[in-house]
């Protein structure tokens, strides 16, 4: 059974309908477990006190913000190479989800930084990169909405996604470089690679899995909507032609 079977819209609708209830249940369980455990049952951290609890929403959101764009990139490539409409629609469906995750990462990052640095916003390279990523998402979504013909829109947004990915990576390095030139080299010590003690790590992993499942669930729901909308547009066009 090749994965390309799901490129067929009908097969996709059937399979996603069957899978969705399980996905939703799993998502709720993981998210609930991860966040409740993290919020209520973990101790305070030595340096950051109770603010470390923000990690359970900030880090998973930030991770998924990046992963969403990577998924859009892969889906865009599949569209350009194999012309599967479901792929193009899935990329379109994923963009608002990625945008929301980016915004959550930004706001929680700023809120976390405020008591520690004393200001609401700091041009930390990571936060800055996420701000730029936010703009890339907005541009992508805007381009989909601006172009009338759906296949043309799919082509253009796919190319934009690819070029945008290169520049997003470049911007990440540029932002790191740029921050070195600033007076305050304050960088968030939110790095997952840093030694996060087990007691924080376990609920964090569950939270990350939960966010990942949330992403998949939302993308499936939204892709189903896109497929229906596309079919609707085709029917309406035929009606108009009488």
């Amino acid at each position: 059974m090749s994965i390309w079977e799901y490129a067929n819209p009908r097969k996709f609708m059937q399979t996603s309908a069957a899978v969705l209830p399980w996905l939703v249940a799993l998502t709720v369980v993981c998210l609930g477990l991860g966040l409740v455990w993290g919020f209520f049952l973990t101790p305070d951290e030595a340096l950051q006190g109770a603010s470390v609890k923000i990690i359970y929403v900030h880090v998973p959101a930030a991770m998924m913000a990046i992963n969403a764009w990577v998924m859009m990139l892969v889906a865009s490539l599949i569209w350009l190479i194999r012309r599967h409409h479901v792929s193009a629609l899935a990329a379109r469906a994923a963009a608002p989800v990625g945008l929301i995750f980016t915004m959550v990462a930004l706001v929680t990052g700023a809120l976390w930084g405020q008591p520690i640095w004393g200001t609401w916003w700091v041009w930390d390279p990571r936060l800055t990169s996420f701000l730029i990523l936010c703009l890339f998402y907005l541009g992508y979504i805007a381009l989909w909405q601006a172009i009338e013909d759906p296949d043309t829109a799919a082509d253009l947004t796919a190319v934009l996604c690819m070029v945008g990915s290169v520049f997003a990576v470049l911007s990440r390095y540029a932002a790191n470089f740029w921050s070195e030139g600033q007076h305050q080299g304050a960088s968030l010590s939110l790095d997952r690679k840093e030694n996060v003690a087990d007691v924080f790590w376990q609920p964090l992993v569950i939270s990350m899995v939960g966010f990942g499942l949330l992403f998949v669930t939302l993308v499936l729901v939204r892709t189903r909507t896109e497929i229906r909308a596309r079919r609707l547009a085709a029917l309406l066009a035929r009606e108009r032609m009488g």
């Binding site: 603010s51 929403v57 915004m103 706001v107 976390w112 939302l218 909308a229 609707l232 029917l235």
Partner: protein, 58 residues
């Protein structure tokens, strides 16, 4: 029940609140858009069936 958040209360509660609001909003929006598309498609497909039936009878 609620842990003592000390001076970080605003930051922590605010973060969770924003996350729940934004993500919850997206979920609600996605479900609403889905329901709307489903209803409109159903209506359009019903019209197709009707038109076909008319042509068959007329």
């Amino acid at each position: 029940m609620m842990p003592d958040l000390g001076k970080y209360a605003v930051a922590v509660l605010g973060s969770y609140a924003v996350a729940i609001l934004l993500i919850g909003g997206l979920v609600v929006l996605s479900l609403w858009q889905g329901a709307r598309a489903r209803a409109a498609l159903r209506a359009a497909e019903a019209r197709v069936v009707e038109a076909r039936a008319e042509r068959a009878n007329g």
